[in-house]
Amino acid sequence: MDGFLRIEGVTKRYGDKVAVDDVTLSIERGEFFALLGPSGCGKTTLLRMIAGFERPDAGRIVLDGEDIKSLPPNRRKVNTVFQNYALFPHLDVFENIAFGLRVARRPQREIDEEVEAMLELIRMKEERRRKPDQLSGGQRQRVAVARALVNKPRVLLLDEPLAALDLKLRQHMLMELDLIHDRVGITFIYVTHDQNEAMSLSDRIAVMQEGRISQLGSPVEIYEAPRSGFVASFIGDANFLEGRVLAEAGPEHCRLGVPGLPDVICYNDKRISPGEAVSLLVRPEKLRISRERPDEAPLVNVVPGTVEDVIYLGSHTRYRVRVGERRFSVEQQHGRFFLDEKPIRWEEPVWLAWHADDGTMLELADVPEARGR
């Protein structure tokens, strides 16, 4: 491993609870890296160990070739944007941003220059003399980012930085953070429980569960080829079909027997052999819904069903379709004016179709309570 920031076999226990369990990661210079997971998965603990607020019980944290595990937070070239910003209430915007430079005893001229540059970056020159309690949530967030960045850290850690903002502002700040990352070009490590934030910003995502990394990859990999049911259901919606591999079908595909459905054909990149029990994952937007039976085609699965629920969501519609004992979740984008077509209604018989390559097989052990979906 030769990453810029390397987490090597890091473990952290609180009493007999293991918060972070033997995690190994390598993060590149300039990367926007997300730690994604539900609360209590250990992502924040991992971040706090990188920042220096917690000491790992085992393992190493190597930044740019130097083991920083035993350095106190004030000696690490790492800065943090805290969840509730933790701006100093008795200092104004300028002095909050200048704090790290003052600690470092930089000359006043340099402090002025660099703080001004930061105020420019976050577009808050006018507000420099405001106190934190006179700022809006978005402004506080920007000050927190500037206060960390002005120290030119090797890595910027962001701990759920948008959690305190409302949806609209969150989307706006996402773009802003992305822009800032592009402009300063340093490594960002972003902790969040929000899959949308992680997907839209990151170069790579580590999905965490119970102190371990479930999967590490680009947003596309994680969404399109989740390696476990947990990852599949944590990121986006998913339909799970439990069945058994019947036979290989061509070099790359196999035939699945799924109770209550005609045989299903599926891409078999994991080379799962006949006889194994598997769970087939199909994303709702990969399913086509239609009134007429689609034409037969190789590698396309077609099943009949009945519409149980229609939820119109503007840009797309979500259907619940009953197939025998199962419920499929289907999403259909509206490519053109929705009312031009005759909309599919409740209790209408429909056909569902998906391409074999749009299904992902998971070994059954990897699938949590997927049955009810």
């Binding site: 220096g52 607020f53 004030n74 805290f82 509730n84 933790a86 100093f88 600690v103």
Partner: protein, 291 residues
Amino acid sequence: MSGRTRASGAELAATAPSFLWLALFFVVPTLLVFAVAFRPSDPYGGIGAGWTLESLRALGNPSYPAIIWRTVWVSVVATVLCVALAIPTAYAMARAPVRWRRTILLLVVIPFWTSFLVRVFAWKTLLHPDGLVKSLLVALGLVQPETTLLYNVGAVLLVTVHTDLPFAILPIYAAAEKFDLRLLEAARDLGAGSWYAFRRVFLPGISRGIQNGVLMVLIPVLGSYVVPDIVGGPSGEMLGGTIAQRVFVDRNLPNAAGLAALLALAVLLPLIGALWLQTRRGRPLRMEELP
């Protein structure tokens, strides 16, 4: 501030009872004390007829400057000591786990369960030439057997700090408990050492508590009378004791009133100073924040 200058009728009606109370039992008696200072004394310990500047002249007593100076410096030093001890205590309490906090708070307050007088007399016993503290210090070789621990300014300071320390701890702890400790983490993250973070983030964060703690200690100590009287001896006499002497020994109420008025002015000055400090920050001081 401008919105506060004119109170509505309803507001006036709501606050009238408390103002009336303050006026009747605080402002009027204080003004009476000021007035008595300008009356002559009568030989039976009462107040004579007419007006006189006799008490004002009595303030020129050559022994007073030393006593006033001692009162001021003992009060200031005791306050500084109390606050200096209270700040780290409050810091440690605020950082302690919640279930520990209650215990420590209890320990701070427990002395109040014993009568103030009993505590002061207990010190007298401890510091007595045959007392526990004295014997212990002599045994440890820290103190010569002929040193007196009692009846000097040092004893007054020691006992005052002991009795008044909780009054400094409580308001400072109240502020420290509300202080967001994550700010210290933020300071550390930005490169500050613990001491820098404590000084530049924690102390400003609890400044209001410190101001209140100063007032809570300084004002009672300025007027303190029991402690100097019991452990101070003649070399530890403070203004409060002198006032008591004028009343009980000299039976000269106007002279006592003159001294009391002087003391009242001395107490008002730090209060006005604190008010000015706090309003300067752009926020008026609220009633409940006054000691």
